[in-house]
C-alpha cells in the first residue's frame, strides 16, 4: 500500500523469502551447534588416547563446516534480509526501526564469529591447545548470542505480547511470551544438527571401521538431548500461540480445501514426523556405525532440513493473517487502521500509493487493488493461486464475501469502498473467463441490497467455501 509491491508472477514473493529462509535456518543452526561440537570435541580429544587422530578428523569437520556456514549460511542470512525488504517493506521497516540496535548487536556477534572461526581454523597447526579450545568455545558462545538476539525478533513477530505500537518498548517486544521456549527449542535442535553433521563427516573415514564407529557414536549422542527436550518445549511453545492459530491447526478453518487438514497442520506434522524419523535414523546408524554410509548420513541430515522446513513454514503460517501479530496484516494493512471506520471506507487507491490512478471500475482498477492489497499472499495462478481459489465464485458473491472474509480467521478485513469491492471481484472472476463488469455487479446489488439478512446469511455460510 505505502510501498510498491514486488509482483513476481506464479512464484509470489513470499515463496522467494521462504525458500531462502528454509536453507538459511538449517545452516545457521549448524553454524551454532557445530561450534559447540568443535568445542566439545576439542575437550574430548584431550581426554582420549587417540587425541591427535580425533583432531585430524576434526580438522576435516572444521573445513566443511567453515565453507558451508560462511558461504551459504552468511549469504542466505543476508538473502532473507534482502528478500523481506522486497516482499514486505512496511513490516521490515517497522522491525528495523524497532530493533536496529538489536540487529547491530547481532552484527557484532557475526564479526566475532567469523574472526574467531578464522583464527581457530587457520591457526590450526600452530596455536597452542589451550588457545584452540578457547577459540572454539568463544566461537560457540558468540554464535549462540547471535541466535539469542534474532530469536527475540522472530518470536516477536508471532507473539508480540505486551508490545504496543503506540508506546513501543523494545524489551517488551524482545522478551515476548514465545521467546524462552523457542530459544531453548532452537538451542537443542542446534546440538542435534551439529551432531548429524558430525555423522556425515565421520562416514568419510575409510579403512578404519573402529575409529569410524567411535566417532559416529560420539556424534550420535548429540541427538539425545533434543530428542527428549524438544517435545516438552513444543508444548510450552504451543501454549504461547494465539487462540486463532491453535484453532486453525486443530481441524483447520471450516471446510477449507483439504478438509480437516489445513496446510499449517500438514507442515506441523512434517516437523513432528521428521523429529521422530531423525531419532530412529540415529538409532539405526548407531546400531551398526562401522557400516554407516555417507548417503545414509546425508539422508539423515536432509530429514532435518525437511523438519526445519515444516517447523518454519508452520511458524510463518501461524501468523496468518498478520505479518506482525495484531499489529500489521500480511498485506501491509495496519491493525489500528482497521479499527478506524472512515479509513476502511475510503477508496483503497486513495490510501494506497504507486497506482497510476486507473479509470474507476475499470479492469485496471481491480487489478491494482489486487496487486496492492491481495498479491502479497496470492498469486494470480501460481502459488496460493487466486484464480484457483475463486473458480466457483460468481462476481456478486465475491463482492459480498469481501465484507466478511476476515471472519475466516485467516484473511484480513477488506479496505475500500463498494466500488473497490466490485472492481476487485470483477477482476478476480475475469481470471477465469467471467466477463461481469464491476458496474454490472453494482447494478445487481442495487436490486438486492447487500445488508439484507438473506444475502448476509448466504455470504456467511459461503465463507467456508474459500480456500485460504
Amino acid at each position: 500500500m505505502n510501498y510498491p509491491f514486488w509482483d513476481i508472477p506464479f512464484l509470489g514473493n513470499g515463496l522467494v523469502v521462504a525458500i531462502i529462509a528454509i536453507i538459511h535456518i538449517l545452516i545457521s543452526h549448524l553454524a551454532i551447534g557445530g561450534g559447540a561440537f568443535l568445542f566439545v570435541t576439542e575437550l574430548w580429544s584431550d581426554r582420549q588416547p587417540m587425541g591427535q587422530k580425533i583432531r585430524d578428523w576434526l580438522h576435516r569437520y572444521a573445513t566443511y563446516f567453515l565453507v558451508y556456514t560462511t558461504v551459504f549460511g552468511a549469504m542466505t542470512g543476508v538473502g532473507i534480509w534482502f528478500a523481506i525488504q522486497l516482499a514486505n517493506p512496511e513490516a521490515t521497516s517497522l522491525l528495523i526501526h524497532q530493533f536496529v540496535f538489536a540487529w547491530a548487536t547481532e552484527w557484532v556477534m557475526f564479526l566475532g564469529e567469523l574472526t574467531t572461526l578464522y583464527l581457530y581454523f587457520y591457526g590450526w597447526q600452530k596455536n597452542s591447545r589451550s588457545l584452540q579450545v578457547f577459540l572454539a568455545g568463544a566461537y560457540f558462545v558468540i554464535a549462540w548470542f547471535s541466535l539469542f538476539i534474532i530469536n527475540g525478533i522472530l518470536s516477536f513477530m508471532l507473539t508480540p505480547g505486551a508490545w504496543q505500537l503506540a508506546q513501543p518498548n523494545i524489551f517488551h517486544g524482545f522478551f515476548n511470551p514465545g521467546f524462552v521456549p523457542s530459544l531453548i527449542l532452537r538451542t537443542f535442535v542446534m546440538f542435534l544438527i551439529g551432531g548429524l553433521f558430525g555423522i556425515i563427516v565421520a562416514t568419510k573415514i575409510r579403512n578404519d571401521d573402529e575409529f569410524k564407529a567411535k566417532i559416529i557414536n560420539f556424534s550420535a549422542k548429540w541427538v539425545i538431548p533434543a530428542a527428549i527436550i524438544v517435545p516438552v518445549m513444543m508444548l510450552w511453545y504451543w501454549s504461547t500461540l494465539p487462540a486463532n492459530t491453535v484453532a486453525l491447526i486443530k481441524g483447520g478453518a471450516v471446510g477449507v480445501a483439504g478438509g480437516k487438514l489445513e496446510i499449517i497442520t500438514r507442515y506441523f506434522w512434517l516437523a513432528v514426523v521428521s523429529g521422530f524419523l531423525i531419532v530412529f535414523g540415529t538409532l539405526f546408524i548407531s546400531f551398526r556405525p562401522q557400516a554407516a554410509s555417507t548417503a545414509g548420513a546425508i539422508a539423515l541430515f536432509l530429514i532435518a532440513q525437511l523438519g526445519v522446513m515444516g517447523a518454519e513454514f508452520f511458524r510463518e503460517m501461524a501468523r496468518k493473517p498478520y505479518v506482525i501479530y495484531n499489529v500489521l496484516y500480511s498485506n501491509s494493512l495496519w491493525k489500528y487502521h482497521t479499527d478506524d471506520q472512515n479509513y476502511m471506507q475510503t477508496a483503497f487507491l486513495d490510501n494506497a500509493r504507486w497506482d497510476p490512478r486507473p479509470e474507476p471500475l475499470s479492469p485496471q482498477h481491480g487489478e491494482w487493488i489486487f496487486r496492492l492489497q491481495c498479491a502479497s499472499c496470492h498469486t494470480r495462478n501460481g502459488y496460493r493461486s487466486i484464480a484457483e481459489r475463486t473458480k466457483d465464485w460468481t462476481a456478486e458473491f465475491g463482492y459480498r464475501w469481501f465484507l466478511d472474509m476476515d471472519k475466516t480467521g485467516i484473511m484480513p478485513p477488506f479496505q475500500g469502498t463498494n466500488e473497490d469491492r466490485a472492481a476487485l471481484s470483477a477482476y478476480l472472476v475475469s481470471l477465469h473467463g467471467d466477463t461481469t463488469t464491476a458496474q454490472q455487479i453494482l447494478d445487481q446489488v442495487e436490486q438486492a441490497p447487500a445488508d439484507s439478512i438473506a444475502n448476509q446469511a448466504a455470504a456467511n455460510d459461503m465463507i467456508g467455501k474459500v480456500k485460504p
Binding site: 471446510g255 480445501a257 483439504g258 478438509g259 480437516k260 487438514l261 496446510i263 500438514r266 507442515y267 506434522w269 512434517l270 514426523v273 521428521s274 524419523l277 531423525i278 530412529f280 535414523g281 539405526f284 546408524i285 546400531f287 551398526r288 562401522q290 557400516a291 554407516a292 554410509s293 548417503a295 545414509g296 548420513a297 539422508a299 539423515l300 536432509l302 530429514i303 525437511l306 523438519g307 522446513m309 515444516g310
Partner: protein
C-alpha cells in the same frame, strides 16, 4: 520334552549365549525348525563396497515404497467405496481426519516407486547385473516393472474425477490400437464399450486384490533369486585382487546403513504431501467436454508422445517402435554374455544409453504443453 533336532555345532558357536533370552529363544526355535543352513547362508551374504554401492540401495527403496503403498492403500480402503467412488474419496479428502495426508502420500509414493524402479532397472542394466546367471532375476524384475505401471493406471481411475476419467478413456483407446487383441483386451478391462462405473469395479479388484497378490509373489521370487545368487559385482570391482575387495555383510550392516535413506524418504513423502496434496477434481461427467490438458501420468508420457508422432495409417510403426523397448529388455539378458571384454556388452550399453535418452526426451517432450 526332547528337542526334535540337533543344533549344528557351528551354530552353537555363533548363537547368543544360552543364559540370555535371545539365546534361549533361538535354541528353542532351532530345536523345532532345522533352518540353520538358511540362516547361515543369509548371514554370509555380502554387498561389495565400491564407488557405485549407492545403486544397490534402489531395490530396497522400491521395496520400501511398496510397503508404504500397501499400508496407505489399506488405510484408504477403510473409507473408499467402489459403489460411490467420487463421494467416498471426497469424504476422505474433506472429512476424515488426515485422510488427505494419507491419500496424498499414497499418490506420491506411487510416483516415486515407479521412478525408483526406473532407476533400479537402469542401474542394474548399466552395471550389467542382468547377465547370466541372473537372467531370470532380471526378467522377474521386468515383469514387476510392467505390473507396477498397470498398478498406476488402475489406481488413477478410482477417484472417478474429471481427469482420471478422461485420462483412462484415452489410455484405453491406446490399448484398443493394439493389433488383433486390442479391442478384446480393452473391452474386457472396461467391462463394456466405454469407461463406466462398471470399469471401476474391475479396476478396483485388480488394484486392491489381483495385482497385490501377483506382485508380492513375484517380489518374493525376485528376492529369493537375489538372496541365493548374491549381489552381482560390476567388472571394475570383480577385476580387483581379492585382498583389495571390501564388502558389507548384508545382514545387518548393509540394511542398517540403508535404513536412514528409507526414513528420509518417509519424511520426503510427508513433505510432498504437505506441500502438494493430491487435488480432487469435480466428479467425472461422461457427457461433459473433456477438461483442458488431459495427459496420462508422467510415466506414460513417452509412449503417449511416441504414438502421437505416428498418426492414422502409420501408427503401427509407432506401436512397433515402442514395443522394441520391452522386447529389448526381454532379450538383452540372453544376448549379452558375461565376458567383460565382449563387444556385445559394449553395444548393449550404448543401446541402453540411447533408450534412456529417448525415454527422458520423449517424457519431457510429452510433458511440454
Amino acid at each position: 520334552m526332547t528337542p526334535d533336532y540337533e543344533i549344528p555345532p557351528e551354530a552353537e558357536t555363533q548363537l547368543p549365549p544360552p543364559n540370555k533370552l535371545t539365546g534361549r529363544l533361538s535354541r528353542y526355535l532351532l530345536n523345532r525348525y532345522p533352518v540353520w543352513p538358511i540362516i547361515d547362508h543369509l548371514s554370509k551374504k555380502v554387498v561389495p563396497r565400491h564407488r557405485d554401492t549407492v545403486w544397490y540401495n534402489m531395490g530396497g527403496i522400491a521395496l520400501f515404497f511398496l510397503v508404504v503403498q500397501i499400508i496407505t492403500g489399506a488405510l484408504l480402503m477403510v473409507y473408499y467405496r467402489p459403489s460411490q467412488p467420487w463421494a467416498s474419496v471426497q469424504r476422505i479428502v474433506m472429512e476424515v481426519p488426515y485422510g488427505n495426508l494419507i491419500r496424498s502420500i499414497h499418490n506420491w509414493s506411487a510416483n516415486l516407486m515407479i521412478l525408483t524402479l526406473f532407476l533400479h532397472m537402469f542401474s542394474t542394466f548399466f552395471m550389467k547385473a542382468y547377465r547370466p546367471p541372473r537372467e531370470l532375476t532380471w526378467l522377474s524384475g521386468a515383469v514387476l516393472m510392467a505390473i507396477t505401471l498397470l498398478f498406476g493406471f488402475s489406481g488413477y481411475l478410482l477417484p472417478w474425477d474429471d481427469l482420471s476419467f478422461f485420462a483412462t478413456r484415452v489410455g484405453m483407446s491406446e490399448i484398443e490400437r493394439a493389433p488383433l487383441i486390442g479391442h478384446w483386451i480393452a473391452g474386457l478391462a472396461r467391462g463394456g464399450a466405454d469407461v463406466t462405473v462398471d470399469t471401476i469395479g474391475r479396476f478396483y479388484l485388480l488394484h486392491v486384490m489381483v495385482m497385490p497378490i501377483v506382485v508380492l509373489t513375484i517380489v518374493g521370487i525376485h528376492l529369493f533369486f537375489v538372496q541365493v545368487q548374491g549381489v552381482s559385482e560390476p567388472d571394475h570391482f570383480a577385476a580387483l585382487p581379492p585382498e583389495k575387495k571390501r564388502y558389507h555383510k548384508f545382514f545387518t550392516e548393509f540394511l542398517f546403513s540403508e535404513a536412514p535413506i528409507w526414513l528420509f524418504l518417509s519424511a520426503l513423502l510427508v513433505a510432498l504431501a504437505a506441500a502438494w496434496p493430491r487435488t480432487l477434481l469435480p466428479e467425472a461427467d461422461p457427457f461433459a467436454a473433456a477438461p483442458l490438458g488431459i495427459k496420462p501420468e508422467w510415466y506414460f508420457l513417452s509412449q503417449f508422445q511416441l504414438l502421437k508422432m505416428f498418426p492414422g495409417k502409420v501408427e503401427m510403426v509407432g506401436l512397433l517402435l515402442w514395443s522394441l523397448i520391452p522386447l529389448g529388455i526381454l532379450v538383452v539378458a540372453f544376448v549379452d554374455r558375461s565376458i567383460p571384454t565382449d563387444n556385445r556388452g559394449r553395444w548393449t550399453t550404448r543401446i541402453g544409453i540411447v533408450a534412456l535418452a529417448g525415454l527422458i526426451v520423449y517424457t519431457i517432450w510429452g510433458w511440454l504443453p
